[in-house]
Amino acid sequence: MPVLLELDHMTIRFGGLIAVSELNMQVEEGKIGSLIGPNGAGKSTVFNVITGIYTPTRGKVTFKGQNITGLKPYAITSLGIARTFQNIRLFKNLSVLDNVKIGRHCRAGGGIFGALTRHPGIKREEKTIAEKSLSALDLVGLTAKKNEQARNLSYGEQRRLEIARALAAEPVLLLLDEPAAGMNPQEKQTLMQMILNIRQTGVTILLVEHDMKFVMNISDCVDVLDYGCKIASGTPSEVQKDPAVITAYLGKEVG
């Protein structure tokens, strides 16, 4: 399988703190990859670097063979990377449907002139935006809530809306930062099926998640971070057996 995303000696520091150090990592096309590690290990920071919110201090990010280091977030999104946020960042006072429509921003082009004239091209574009947004909502089971304000959704629904919003951009690579956080076992089960369905449509997925059962069941490969350094990498069963991982991370849960 060709490599879709590659981090090459990626280092990022905040003042004196090295949040991620010399990270080499690959995500293969069509796979579900996971990034795990204890709190503060640097997982979300890796996502923020991939999506251009932070610029790495050193190293390189390559996506589809193109160097995307230092590109602005909006440029990276239009290249085909979409994400969700660990601390949910929905457009709270907007409707559920509008949230998803905004997610599709990068796949459309209408501007001020189009808004004022609503010429046929714009009408077609708005129709496509609405259709694609509704099908993204359908995929996460939120069609019935499309006219609700986002802030009125339950926690689990908000997490799913974040996924729908990211899917509306028709990404090649989907980054999910702790999608199962705060969900009950039944919701987690549904979420797992949802993620598998998304992969089925050809989207590559990179997941950050604390729920080990969830990660081990769903991932094709797992990378483990501890204090910003990669300490292990491999299939779920390889990683589970890795002594460094057990001491750093799983050890706490087993013992």
């Binding site: 602005k72 994400r83 960042r89 082009g109 001020i112 808004a115």
Partner: protein, 299 residues
């Protein structure tokens, strides 16, 4: 009907309503910047003055048609909106507020010290071109334009910026550039409003466009409800009619503004109609009416 006619023919009422319409156009422009996009602007009157002086000078010296002069006034204001936006739209919150405030003062001082605009003496001899019909036709056009803008890809992007800039940027929105565009559209309407003002008053003085004017317009937007067109209309109507009809309001205007602001922040932080989608309210009222009367009148 009689009553409506007498209001329109009574020169005093006519003047009050015309001025209200003129400032409503400016307020609607600021509504796009502050209410929809969430960016502070404390210097909106400066853009009115740019539209006012440029259109008045064109009328006086070039004798070009009023509508052309008004359009140029709007476009010039938008150009200055963009020029101010380029350095300041990277700033947020307080810093943006201070920058726009400073810009407003600078423009006023430039007009005080410019010969062709009559300096502090003011600019007279502007022909009267504005009337209540023109103003309200333009109000309708402005509302129509803003309604379409808000319900478009562009408008959704602006609302996304107000809600969460980082998320907006991650959705593929060039936040910086979109803020500048919102500023350009909002200041265009300020320029048009200024042109109408110039050809209504027939005399311009830089003191017409000081901080208190900017503050008035901001109040129109905030009182009615940030992000809501009906709210901006309501806010403008209440705050521009109240001082005319209630004398004590005029004398204690600033005091009342202050008290209103504090009360609003406590009880209705989104404004009187903020976050109320009137179309949705009417629709749900209608569908209730059409239902089988199972609704108990509890709401």
């Amino acid at each position: 009907m009689e009553g409506v006619l007498s209001i329109l023919t009574n020169p005093y009422y006519n003047q009050v309503l015309t001025m209200m319409g003129i400032f409503l156009i400016a307020a609607l422009g600021l509504h796009l910047i502050t209410g929809v996009t969430g960016q502070f602007s404390f210097g909106h009157a400066a853009f009115l003055s740019i539209g006012a002086y440029s259109s008045a000078l064109m009328t006086i010296y070039l004798h070009t048609p009023f509508f052309l002069n008004m359009l140029v006034g709007g476009l010039l204001a938008a150009l200055f909106g963009i020029l101010l936006g380029i350095p300041s739209m990277r700033l947020t919150g307080d810093y943006l507020g201070i920058t726009t405030l400073g810009f407003g003062e600078i423009v006023r001082i430039v007009f005080i010290n410019t010969k062709i605009t009559g300096g502090a003496m003011g600019l007279g001899g502007i022909p009267k071109e504005t009337n209540i019909a023109i103003v309200y036709i333009l109000v309708v056009l402005t509302v129509f334009s803003l309604y379409r803008i808000q319900n478009s890809r562009f408008g959704r992007a602006l609302a996304a910026i107000r809600e969460d800039e980082i998320a907006a940027e991650t959705m593929g929105i060039n936040v910086y550039w979109y803020k500048i565009k919102a500023f350009a559209v909002g200041t265009f309407f300020a320029g048009v409003s200024g042109a109408l003002f110039a050809h209504m008053m027939q005399y311009l003085n830089p003191s017409d466009f000081g901080f208190s004017r900017s503050f008035d317009i901001l109040n129109f937007v905030v009182l009615g409800g940030l992000g809501s067109i009906p709210g901006t209309i309501l806010g403008t109507a209440v705050l521009s009619l109240a001082p005319e009809f209630l004398r004590f309001v005029k004398e204690y205007r600033m005091l009342i503004y202050g008290a209103l602001m504090i009360l609003m922040m406590i009880f209705r932080p989104y404004g009187l109609l903020g976050n109320v989608d009137l179309v949705r309210v009417f629709r749900s009222l209608r569908s209730r009416g059409a239902g089988k009367g199972t609704v108990s009148g509890d709401s």
